[in-house]
């Protein structure tokens, strides 16, 4: 998959041509509005509220129109002037309750404290991991962004950032920057088994820890991928292991009750390899049986 992040910085990449291409592509529209819907769902705003949301990297305002369908007003920031021009025209034509500001999120957001009821960002935050100018240090830009995002959100409000991390290290960098300024939360992955539909959402909460929502995996049953910390019965603390590790070699067998090379152990191993898709000999009454001793 090609990554625009490798081509040129966002203010240059999303030029007039690219912006109008983006705005007119029905495929883009469909994907973006699906993601925006999901992001709003993850924001988990109380029903029948009409709040003010921040849209970071609003682009041509596709996510903004989804916000509006849900009855909220929004303010969007983006670094590409050409994208914003299209957004401004759409706002004007549709009589929308949105507004846009030309701003680089890596230099902070420039909003007063506690004014937003939530924030969403669709496919934008990973741009902060790339450095297109000598002065741009990803770590510092991420820190500045999250600091100001935290400040602009009402206490207890959530931010849902959908992003395309290129490597797990990028995700780690972004998540740790968010946690360092006081956000709680973690990553929700939708459709983790699909290469195309897989989407990462960083669900952050400013102020108070909340239960992390679960990712969709298409089978109807939802499961979390990883948590920032294991929750104990008391939600404010994290369990720790009191059990000692013991000798290095001792924990080699996963199930200590099963003797190595016993029939049960062999069957478990065959099962495991079958699940991994390896070629495994079929089970029979001879499986796992000792050979007769030689005379």
């Amino acid at each position: 998959m090609s990554r625009p992040e490798h081509v040129s910085p966002p203010e240059l990449f999303y030029n007039e041509r690219e912006a109008s291409k983006y705005a007119r592509s029905t495929r883009m529209m469909q994907i973006q509005s699906q993601i925006s819907e999901r992001a709003l769902e993850l924001l988990n705003l109380p029903d029948n509220t009409h709040g003010l949301l921040l849209d970071v990297g609003c682009g041509t305002g596709m996510s903004g129109s989804v916000i509006e369908e849900n009855g909220h007003a929004w303010i969007g920031v983006d670094i590409s002037k050409d994208m914003l021009d299209i957004a401004a025209t759409n706002i004007k034509d549709e009589g929308s309750d949105g507004d846009v500001v030309h701003r680089d999120m890596g230099t902070g957001l420039g909003f007063r404290g506690g004014v937003f009821d939530g924030a969403i960002s669709i496919s934008a935050v990973q741009w902060l991991c790339y450095s297109s100018h000598k002065e741009h240090v990803p770590k510092l830009r991420l820190k500045r962004f999250f600091q100001e995002l935290y400040g602009a959100l009402r206490r207890g409000a959530r931010a849902v950032l959908q992003l395309y991390p290129e490597t797990p290290q990028q995700m780690e960098l972004i998540t740790s920057a968010a946690m360092a300024v006081g956000f709680t939360g973690g990553v929700v992955v939708d459709y983790p088994n699909s290469a195309k539909a897989k989407k990462f959402y960083l669900v952050l909460s400013a102020g108070q820890p909340t239960q992390l929502p679960r990712g969709k995996d298409g089978a109807g049953e939802e499961r979390p991928l990883f948590h920032p910390g294991r929750r104990s019965a008391n939600a404010d603390t994290v369990d720790y292991e009191s059990e000692r590790r013991g000798f290095r070699g001792k924990k080699r067998s996963r199930n200590e009750d099963v003797n190595i090379k016993s029939r049960e152990w062999v069957m478990n191993k065959k099962d495991r390899q079958r699940r991994q898709g390896k070629e495994v000999a079929r089970d029979s009454k001879y499986s796992g049986r000792r050979r007769k001793g030689k005379f």
């Binding site: 029948n48 509220t49 009409h50 709040g51 003010l52 009855g71 909220h72 007003a73 303010i75 920031v77 670094i79 002037k81 914003l84 021009d85 401004a88 706002i91 004007k92 009589g95 929308s96 309750d97 507004d99 846009v100 500001v101 030309h102 701003r103 680089d104 230099t107 902070g108 957001l109 420039g110 909003f111 007063r112 506690g114 004014v115 100018h133 002065e135 500045r144 100001e148 009402r154």
Partner: protein, 122 residues
């Protein structure tokens, strides 16, 4: 730029302690009608800096907003209409925002305030 946005924006140039409220310079403005949502207006009122909003509205020709908002006022259709008009329908199309402390000018073109900072301002 709508007055809602103006009320939320501040100048965060390096070294500026109090970059709020930004002064508005208007070259052209427009009225763009939008649908009124009373529930939104009732919710947003506590987040607005009312005196700042009132002054900005007066500057853009939307007089007649009260000095303070009371819960009774928020039930009145008349007030809500005025409030909605000043908050979401009046748009500064061309002009500038000026930081009260440093005097830094952020231009507004095509209704979009340019809040980009130079490298030395971050």
């Amino acid at each position: 730029m709508k007055l809602l946005t103006h009320n939320m924006l501040k100048c965060n140039v390096k070294g500026v302690n109090n970059g709020y409220p930004l002064k508005i310079e208007v070259t052209t403005k427009e009225i763009r009608e939008t649908e009124m949502n009373p529930a939104f207006l009732q919710g947003i009122v506590e987040k607005l800096e009312w005196p700042v909003f009132r002054a900005a509205a007066a500057q853009l020709g939307e007089e007649g907003l009260p000095e303070a908002v009371t819960p009774e006022l928020l039930e009145q259709e008349d007030f809500l209409k005025k409030f909605h008009r000043a908050l979401l329908e009046v748009v500064v199309v061309e002009g500038a925002l000026i930081c009260p402390e440093s005097g830094r000018k952020f231009t507004i073109t095509n209704g979009i305030p340019n809040m980009l900072l130079n490298e030395d301002e971050v």
